[in-house]
Amino acid sequence: MEMIGPALLTIITAATPLLFAALGEMVTEKSGVLNLGVEGMMIMGAILGFVAVHFTDSVTVALLVSILAGSAMAALFGLLVLKFHASQVPTGLALTIFGIGLSALIGQSMVGIAYDGLPKLSLPVLSSLPFIGDVFFRHDILVYLSLIMVFVIYYFLNKTRAGLILRAVGDSHDAAHAMGYPVVKIRFLAILFGGGMAGLGGAYLSLAYSPLWVEQMTAGRGWIALALVVFASWRPGRVLLGAYLFGGITILQLHAQALGIGVPSQVMSMLPYLATIIVLVIISSDPGKIRLNAPASLGRPFHPSR
């Protein structure tokens, strides 16, 4: 029993950055844009959030800066892809390479500085429940926010007209354009949203999970988030499930040695990556299913005819 509490806490903390990034990317992809730059946006959110908290000591400012950092990166991507008609795959790759380089540059003087971590918000009454209170109701604001976002995005996509329009643009940009919807503007907003969410995911890493700045600290989480979107068949509830599943794999990694399993740490570190591959294989092996769920215009360039 005494193992379970910390284990659940680890799952939640490991899942939260993935949840943010994957939810954001899902909304971007729902609009028909594949942004492979999640890793780059995340890490920029991580470093700039850390810098902000270091200089202002304000969590609010830090989180806003992270959102802006992710969105600014996303805006760069959006500009290239939507205005300059650049191909989405290489542009996303460039964004990742850029983010990793720029964050290392900015973060040079931040290495080795410690931060206390985001304050925990204990929900009144609920947090005093034995066991459950500790595990579920004493988290920082980002954990709660990530869970709220699952519902907000579900509601937005399925219950609002704006969400319907977003899905329509992702299904057929030509049809949406023919009906007079501003495809480029809608996509740009979706890209910005994805960037902001990735920025928050990054902020969680540098402000709560670690909490400190290390070069390349996202360690492929942006890419895992991309895989999670596929795993989730572009559904918010399943993104939640997927993120917590990966959080679960992370606890294996952290607690295996504590449990006295004689597996080298490198092998345990491989687990999330290998799990991503396995999950992709399982979910992709039915191409019909992917085609029905994936936004039909995903990754296709949009050239309004004349």
């Binding site: 650049a86 290489p90 390479i97 850029f98 895989a227 080298p264 490198q266």
Partner: protein
């Protein structure tokens, strides 16, 4: 007068070649701005980056050393990207190639023979191919996105190398450092230029460029690769199976990345370490694009990006700039290139306010 983009009737051939040049110039301008922000003299910065490294014979030879893996992988990735096969895990294939090639070198520790180096390189190729074939298999058999699988396998490969140099391949007399023994001389690539590190790998890279060029411009295989990339359905109509193109391009990419890995460990490094590449596999993606997905272009772009690595090192020593500047500069180059490429298919037109319907 507002600038607007107008689609060209024919893609501009001039812009295909001019775009990388404009991108380079814009990246330099951005570099100057970056230097100003970092309070470094822009002239000194550019000098350190682009002139200083080339001012000595040793520097030029180092350019060749750094360009070798970039050109090799850049050419191989060009083929894959041309076919629309997104192998972005060359870093992992390079790592596995280096690891297995290195293991072969250690196997022949303190032995002599001219067969050793060819065996090391062949091991690099075969192991890189084998590693890439996982990606191809998962793509063809299970439709798993090759971007994600190849990248995940890169992380796995680096961890695996780390595990090996901490374990079985660790130098028994190395004070527990996570490194292998230094390879024997028989397992080290011959040096081309006395007093430098320039090795015969550079010649291999030139050979690969030449072969790549011939394949892409003259052979059925090259045609199939181009067709598969620009119109998959038409390519199937012509009778080229998509799965075959995926297999071939991934095997070529993996094999050559593996070769580059083996060249790195038996060339400039000379042993196995936890890290055998400063991200050559990822930078090669930029090389392939800046080189217009053309083997000769990849050669030129490989040399340019090798220069940014060298320049980054010089700038670090002389101006105390962080190495990360290199990555930023490389990414900026790719961004500007992607932006400039719009001019291949579009031209800029300065028009007055859009023509309105006359309401008379």
């Amino acid at each position: 007068m507002l600038p607007s983009l107008v689609k060209r009737q024919q893609p501009s051939t001039l812009m295909v070649y001019l775009s990388p040049v404009i991108a380079l110039i814009l990246s330099m301008v951005a570099g100057v701005i970056l230097f100003l922000i970092m309070k470094v003299s822009p002239f000194g910065g550019l000098h350190a980056f682009f002139i200083e490294p080339l001012s000595t014979k040793y520097g030029i030879a180092e350019l060749g050393v750094k360009a070798t893996p970039l050109v090799l992988i850049g050419v191989a990735l060009s083929l894959g990207f041309k076919a629309g096969v997104w192998n972005i895990g060359a870093e992992g294939q390079l790592t596995i190639g280096g690891l297995c090639g290195g293991a072969m070198a250690l196997y022949f520790y303190e032995q002599q023979g001219f067969h050793i180096i060819p065996l090391i390189l062949a091991t690099g190729i075969v192991s890189g191919m084998a590693y890439a074939s996982i990606v191809a298999f998962l793509r063809v058999k299970f439709n798993a996105n090759e971007i994600l699988t190849s990248l995940m396998l890169s992380y796995v490969a680096v961890l695996f190398l780390n595990l090996m140099v901490h374990g079985p391949l660790k130098d028994p007399d190395g004070f527990n450092f996570p490194e292998s023994r230094m390879f024997s001389d028989s397992a080290l690539l011959p040096i081309l230029l006395e007093g430098t590190r320039l090795h015969i790998g550079a010649l291999l890279a030139l050979t690969v460029v030449a072969i790549g060029w011939i394949v892409m411009s003259k052979t059925l295989l090259g045609y199939q690769i181009k067709a598969a990339g620009s119109a998959p359905a038409a390519s199937e109509h012509a009778g080229f199976r998509r799965s075959k193109v995926i297999w071939i391009t991934l095997l070529i990419g993996g094999g050559i990345a593996g070769l580059a890995g083996a060249i790195e460990v038996s060339g400039p490094i000379g042993q196995l370490q936890p890290s055998i590449s400063p991200g050559y596999g990822f930078t090669a993606i930029i090389v392939a694009y800046v080189g217009r997905l053309h083997p000769v272009g990849a050669m030129l772009a490989g040399i340019l990006l090798a220069l940014t690595y060298l320049g980054g090192e010089t700038a670090q020593i002389q101006l105390n700039l962080p190495v990360a500047v290199t990555g930023v500069f490389q990414a900026l180059l790719l961004f500007f290139l992607l932006a400039c490429d719009v001019l291949i298919h579009y031209r800029i037109q300065f028009t007055e306010q859009a023509v309105r319907v006359e309401n008379t």
